[in-house]
Structure formats: C-alpha cells, structure tokens
Subunit: 524 residues, 2 copies
C-alpha cells in the first residue's frame, strides 16, 4: 500500500486530457496539489522506553516490533480523503510510536495485558483502509500508541465443508482469503471496493458490505462465530447459525471497530465457487424510475448477485466505468448494473426473472456496461488519488434508510453538499448510487468533487458536517458500511442517543477497563 | 388462556383409547394426574401497600391495576411442563402481587420509574407462553413483584407499504397482528407453535423462530426497528434495514427477555399475503438420509417456506400429525414436511426445484402428510396437557449447532435423556425433529415422554439437566428459539462464559440500575 494514497502506485491511472479539461471547466480546478516527498513527512518522536520495547518484543519476537519511520508512516491513519490530504501535506502527527505484529491469539492477549498495565493505547490494524478515521486514536493520557498489525495472522484455520463454513484469521487480505478458499472450491463472495487491501478482521469489525451484497449478503450477516481477545481475556461466541441464548453476542463485536477487543478468528459461511458469471447493464429514464425498479426486485425476492443503480449525474460522468470517466458518449438516464453468479441454471433462471421485470418497467438493456463495471470495480480509489493530485477535492460518503425515506434522504444530502460547497466558492459535482438494497430499504452512496481550496481539510469538514446533519435530519443512519471511526462519532452519538452510548460504554469499561483499545474511536 | 394448561379448554383433545393404551404399554403410565381445582391453588399474600397501589393506579388508571386472585393466577409463571406440574398441584408461589396493564409507552416509562424508586420487580408479560421460566422472577430483596401485562398495547401503529414494514405494539397476539395486517394485504408469516397466544413483543424479546422460518426467516431477522422503555428512558434503534453505525443495538434488545427494558414498538418487515399455498410430505429411508437432504436444500438456497424432518421415532408415533398420534399405519422411515407459500408461479417453481432434488435422493412423496401437519400445527401443547393429565411426563427441549455437529448433538442429547430417565425407573420415548435449517446448521427439537413419578418436577429436572450438559458437551447452543429464562440460566452462563456475562450485566446495570426488570431471568 502506498503511504500517500491507495494501493500499488503501478496500478494508478493518469488522468486523460479530457478528464483534466473537465476538472478545469466543470469544477474550476486551477492547480495541481502534489504530495510532499516521503522523507519530508514529519513523524512524532517515538514514545516507548527501552524497557517497554524489550517487554513487548519478548511477546512477539524482536523482529515483529518495528519502530522505523517507514513502517510507522504506513500505519498512520487510513485512506479517507482528509487522511490523504493530511499525509500528502507532510502531517503524520497520528503516527503510532511502534507497530507490533503478533502471530497468535495468545500473543494478542499478552500484548493487551501488558499494554493495559503500561497504559499504552492499542490500535488494531488490518488492511489500513478505514475511510472514517478508524485508525486515528486519541493520544493524550497514554504513555504511547502502538498499531497492532494483524498481517501475520493470515491462516485459514479450518474449512468445514459439511457446514460450509471457513474459520479465518483476521489479518488475511481479501484476495489472500479468497485464494485459500477457491483452492478448495469455495468463496466468501465479499467484494467491497477496498477488497484488494482490506482484511477479513476489518470486514468484521466495521460490518462491511460488499458489492455483491444482494446475492451474498453483508459480511456481518454471514459471520457465524468469532473469537475475540479482550484485555479481560478471551470471548468465543457462536455455537450455531442462530440461537435464542440471550442477545446475539456476535453482533456486539461486529461493528465494534477494535474498541472492545481484537477479533482473532472469524468463522464465516462460504459458498461453492460460482461456475457461471454474467454482468450486464440496464438504463432507466430516471433515477426515480430505477429506484422503483430495484425496490421491486428487492421486495419480490428476485435479486441479482450484484445490483447497483447510478443517478443521472453519476450516469452522465460514467462513474460506473471508472476507466472511462468523462467519456459521456453513452450517458443519459440512470444506469443500473446487474450481475449474476452461481450455477449455470440458477444464473439463467434468475437473470431471466430479473430481466423480465426490468424490460416491462421499461428499462433498456445496455449489455456492455456490466463487463465495464466489473473490470473497473476496484479502481475508484485510484481515480480519487489522481484527482486529488490534480487539485480536485474528491470524497465519498454513504448512508441508508427505509424505502419511504430514500427520496428525501437523496434530496437532502445532495442539497446539503451542493449548498455548503457552493457557499465556499467551490460549486461541486455530486453523484450518487444505490449499491445495497434490502426488502425494506437501501443505501445511498455519494461521490463529491470540487476544486480544492487552500485548506481542503477544513473545506471538506464543512461539506461533510452539512451532509451528516442532513442525513440525521432525513432519518438516515450516519453510515451504511464505512463505519463510525472518529469522523462519524458526533453524529453516531446523536443517532443512537446518550443512553445507548452509556450502555455500550459500560460494555467497553468491562472488557477494556484501562480504555486502551482504539481510544477516541466509536465510543471513546 | 387456561390457568392450568394451554389455550382454550374447548379446543383440548381427549386421548383416544389407542393413545391411552400406548401410554400404559410403552411408558408404563399407571394413574392419571388431575389438576387441583382453581380455588384450591395457594396464592401468596399481596405485598403492595395502599399508597403504592394508589400511585401505580394513578399511572395506568384504577381499572388497569388488578389484584384479584384470578388475574394473578393467570399471570403466574409460563407454560413449561414444570410450570404446569407446579400450578396443577396448587403451587402458585410465584404469582405476582399485582398485574398492571399500561396503555402506552409513556405509561410504561412512568411505571418503571416509580417501581425503580419503590424497588418493585417488574415482569414484562406478553402472551404468558414462556416455556423456560421467563416469567418466574426472583422475589427476594424486592418490596413486591408486578406483572406488566402489555395486552392493552395492541395497535398497528403504522403500515409503511413502500418500505414493506409494519410497526406494531408489543401486546398484539399472533392472530390479532396477522388479522390487522391481512386486512391490508400483508402478513408477517411468523407462526411458532405458540402463535395463537404468544405476543409480538414476546417474539422479539426471546428471538422467536416460526414454523415457516425457512421461507420467512426468524422473527429477529426481520425486526428493523425497536422502541424500548428502560428505567433510564427511551431507546429507539433502527434507522435503516442495515447500518455500520457501531454494534447493531437492535440485537441487544432482541433476546433480552425483558431484562433490559420493555419493548413498546416493533417495526418489522411484512410481505404480501401469499395467494398460493401447498403443503406435502416426503419420506426418507432414515433420519440420517433426510438430514443430508435438508442440508442440501439449505445450502443450495432452494428452500421451501416450511421444512421439517422427523426422526424415525417421531415418524413412528406420527407426531407430525398431532391429531393422529399413535395411528402408526403410515409410519416408517423419516417423514419430512415441505410447505410452499407465495405467488402461484413462485410456489410452482420452488416446489418443482425442491421436489426434483428430493425425488433424486431418493425420497418418496407422502402428499397428505403436509395438509395433516398444517391442520394440526398448533395442537402440540394441547396434546401435552392431555398426556400430563393422563399421568405422563411430556416436555420438549431444543438446541442448534453447525451441520458437522448435528449428528453428535442428536446422539448425545437423545442418549442423555434416555439414560437419565431410565436410571429413575421411567424409560422414556424420545422423539426428535429438525424444524429450522440454515446454510451452516440446524436446530434439533426433542420431545420426551415418560411415566410420571411422585415428584415429576424433580424427575424432569434430572433429565433436563443431563440433556443440557449433553448439549453443551456436544458444542450446541442451550436454546435455539425458546430462550433462557430461569431454566437455562446456568447452562447459558457456561455457554457464553463469565466475561461475556459481565459485559451484558454492565449493560443491565446501566439501563436498569435498580435491577427491577425480570430479576433472576437471563442475566440476573
């Protein structure tokens, strides 16, 4: 992972002259905004004395405690636009004092125990792909901050073919987990945009939802058991797919964002590798017409494996094909992507049923759009980086609500983004798509582009704050799949209310009495 | 509801001479065990002084605070076999001092506040159908115990047709909730055996699973929002079908069994009333062969709406047709019930897909078994009452685990029941069926019959304790859909472990600082 942006720099696209012209014309972008050199990034002094270094090294092995700047830099914050703007400007104030790579559940337990005694904050670190400040702990009051990188815990612990479950260690990245499973004929089928770098533990800790959620479900819906290392010891939960033995404890750790414990094993439902795969596109007259269509599919229970619907603005800039953004030749109306995966007859049957509904609505087929989207489905973050470098401010945010509230939510959040950024003198482009549908509601995913001001972090905060207020005002949830982190904390508290926050803090005080786990994130 | 048994006495069957002969022959039942007369039941003195009576009356209205013996008797414990054995012997020591019928969320809040100050234990009471001691609170240390009967809170608060959700008050019984919805063209589709008497609030509080769970899902899977009155105020949770805003708080109250708050509104996904309905039966050579078949259906994702599989013993006594128990004419092998509900073409397609799989396995169709089961699907509890009166000890228990553990769980629990009861001199009949299947596992539901000893409560405790030990030993969950109550508390603690219990107790201490809500149940 690149310290100043997403993924592998070799994969990063350069922007076409058409795209650059579009930025200048549509957004008024004036000048590029390059990153500083890595050696010019300011890292804080390491606050970890020799005795503690030795003690922590004794737990994980001396080669698995790292204090060098390069490693610390790579564990500084996550991959939100403000994270990147800060680090690209040379600010790595949130760098951990050290990065520790435990190799086992027992080592994690020991680390938590020792860090609790020494009042060292511990940031569980998977893929480092948080876009909500989930890796930016509060530092004050702690003797040091260490990132607990789970990358060495990357085994497939068990494949239970009879139960169709796999037990995975948390540090496995998406592609590595899939490779271990597809070798044996199985897949998780969980493919968020961050798939190539994000980890299985992170998927669980933030209730991740993948692009194929319509067919495979959310990650948290498919987790059947968890092992968690807490400062108070081990919790193992999940003896059956479902149980009536009290509140579902799995659901306490799913979404806990490293604040209640470190998830060290995840047992998840797997499926046979699909033998057939068809992706295609459909074009509706309008986003409103498309929304009615995807709602109908969700409520009739005849969903494709992947179902996404771009609004008119997103369709016009062709964002469903990140490789062809700005190529508006095929624009117009609202583009939906439908994908089917599974056994050949199942794919054919389901595709036939969905197509019949869509054709009658009416929607026009746009067959090539599906393959284009599939090819480019992980490219969004690279595109964002290129645009940041070119002087644009680009970020995404997402929410969800029930169907009867979707239109208002769409209207209010888009309006808040346009109004707040226009007021700052940078009228934005606001794009939106529905990427996750349920019988009772859907998510909305917004992409915003504007020209960068001199202080783009403050600029984005103003827009984000207006959008977050609009989300709560319209009855939406502050996040559908990105999580809370630090960035959504204020609005999360408003969403669930002070009594519920107190109840969750009581859980935290029990499991993490010294408050060392990801302080300031989610509940802190 | 009858004080000494299930439901409406007019509906209770009398046992046929064939059945009685079977009891004598197979179980060695010697003499009937009639209930005492209602007027001979011993109720404890009411412990609620005049001042408190007046204060509580002022909250709900004087006609909604009841202290008469008849009402207290009807709110004493639930409907487990030991509950019935006790009350039929005249023991109503657990009767509440008073029964309060609040009419609104605000009245519940006020009641909880006042009862907290006065240290009065409050037992939220829906349909009164708990079979795990969920209505049998700890009395010591409290000035009084009141049952909070939610029967007056029985409205459909909102039907959101666009989102396909209904918001219901907790006191609605199953049939009343369905009637309100089917009038408008919708159904919840949740039909546990207790359907005719259990309440919507109870379904939520104990994570109920209905007979049609394969098609409609569990009740807790379909709840999208909850309003809860706690002693610390109101918590509202659920702004979207799914969210990544921290742990799913709905899942903290689902399964909380009245210990964290009183659920006063439930928003749940509804579906259009099915226009087509087909029920049929299939016969496998053995329970093992049938298990493989239902696992395959669950893992292929081609499930009927209802799917049940009886083992050889249950098939032999014909328990899937409670109206024809003992008529073994059609017995042999393992009987599965498959039911399909929905739109006509959907039912036909699904039925065709399932039937093709089953026929090939091979399984033999037994078409009339489906309709027979459907007709008798709520009759089990009546049959149990008749058998109790005839001198048999009859009870059920249930568990769940992952598929790879199902065979061992089946073997060990059945073995523990047979061994423990045989040791007491009452060799039992042990029947079992699978009634809820998932991709990764299934539930097992055991029915046990034996001759009653002089102390049938102690007799059952010995058997139940052996069975519960066997469940935990085989890796199962102590309950799949009955809940924890008082009866499963010890094994629940062993299942989730002391640290998790402490975490949940911290939530309780936050929301219910005086510990008045259903003390002794689940966490207490």
């Amino acid at each position: 992972m690149e310290w100043s942006g997403w993924g592998d720099p070799a994969e990063a696209p350069s922007l076409s002259p058409v795209a650059l012209e579009l930025l200048r014309g549509a957004l008024g972008v004036r000048r590029p905004a390059p990153a500083v050199a890595a050696e010019d990034v300011r890292l804080p002094q390491v606050r970890l004395d020799d005795r503690l270094r030795e003690e922590l090294s004794a737990i994980v092995g001396v080669e698995h405690l790292r204090l060098d700047d390069r490693i610390r830099l790579l564990h500084t914050r996550g991959k939100s636009t403000t994270d990147l703007l800060r680090i690209r400007s040379g600010d790595a104030d949130d760098a951990p004092d050290a990065v520790i790579f435990p190799g086992s559940h027992e080592e994690v337990l020991e680390l938590l125990h020792r860090c609790g005694e020494a009042h060292i904050a511990v940031v569980p670190f998977g893929g480092g792909t948080s876009v909500v400040g989930g890796l930016q702990p509060r530092r004050d009051g702690f003797s040091a901050v260490v990132a607990c990188d789970l990358g060495r815990m990357n085994r497939l612990l068990e494949l239970d073919e009879e139960s169709r479950t796999a037990t995975l260690e948390p540090g496995l990245r998406g592609p590595d987990a899939e490779a271990l499973l597809t070798d044996r004929g199985y897949t998780i089928g969980h493919h968020p945009q961050s798939f190539e770098y994000a980890s299985v533990g992170g998927f669980a800790a933030v209730r991740s939802s993948g692009q194929a959620s319509a067919g495979y479900g959310r990650f948290d819906e498919r987790v059947v058991a968890l092992r968690v290392a807490t400062p108070r010891g081990t919790i193992e939960t999940g003896r059956a797919p479902k149980s009536a033995a009290g509140p579902d404890l799995r659901q306490l750790f799913l979404g806990s964002e490293g604040t209640l414990g470190v998830i060290t094993a995840i047992r998840i439902e797997v499926r046979p590798v699909p033998v057939a795969r068809v992706y295609e596109g459909w074009r509706f007259d309008s986003f409103a017409a498309g929304r009615e269509a995807v709602r109908r599919l969700a409520q009739d229970g005849s969903l494709p494996t992947v179902l996404r619907l771009s609004d008119e603005a997103e369709t016009a800039v062709n964002l469903a094909r990140p490789g062809q953004v700005g190529d508006g030749g095929r624009a117009g109306g609202a583009l939906a992507i439908t994908g089917y995966e599974g056994k050949a007859d199942e794919v054919e049957w389901r595709r036939g049923a969905v197509s019949a509904v869509l054709r009658a609505l009416p929607a026009e087929p746009d067959p090539s759009a599906g393959a284009d989207w599939f090819d480019d489905r992980y490219k969004g973050p690279y595109l964002r980086d290129a645009l940041l470098g070119a002087g644009a401010l680009v970020e995404t945010l997402e929410t969800a609500t029930f169907w009867s509230g979707v239109e208002r939510l769409y209207h209010d959040v888009g309006g808040a983004l346009r109004e707040s950024l226009t007021k700052l003198g940078t009228p934005p482009v606001v794009l939106c798509h529905i990427s996750h549908v349920y019988a009772s509601g859907a998510s909305l995913y917004f992409t915003v582009g504007a020209a960068q001001l001199d202080d783009p972090v403050a600029q984005w905060h103003a827009a984000k704050s207006a959008a977050s207020d609009a989300i709560l005002g319209a009855g939406g949830s502050i996040t559908h799949h990105h999580g809370v982190g630090v960035d959504h904390r204020e609005h999360y508290f408003r969403e669930i209310g002070p009594t519920a926050i107190e109840a969750l803090r009581a859980v935290k005080a029990t499991l993490d009495p010294a408050g060392i786990l990801n302080p300031g994130v989610l509940l802190g």
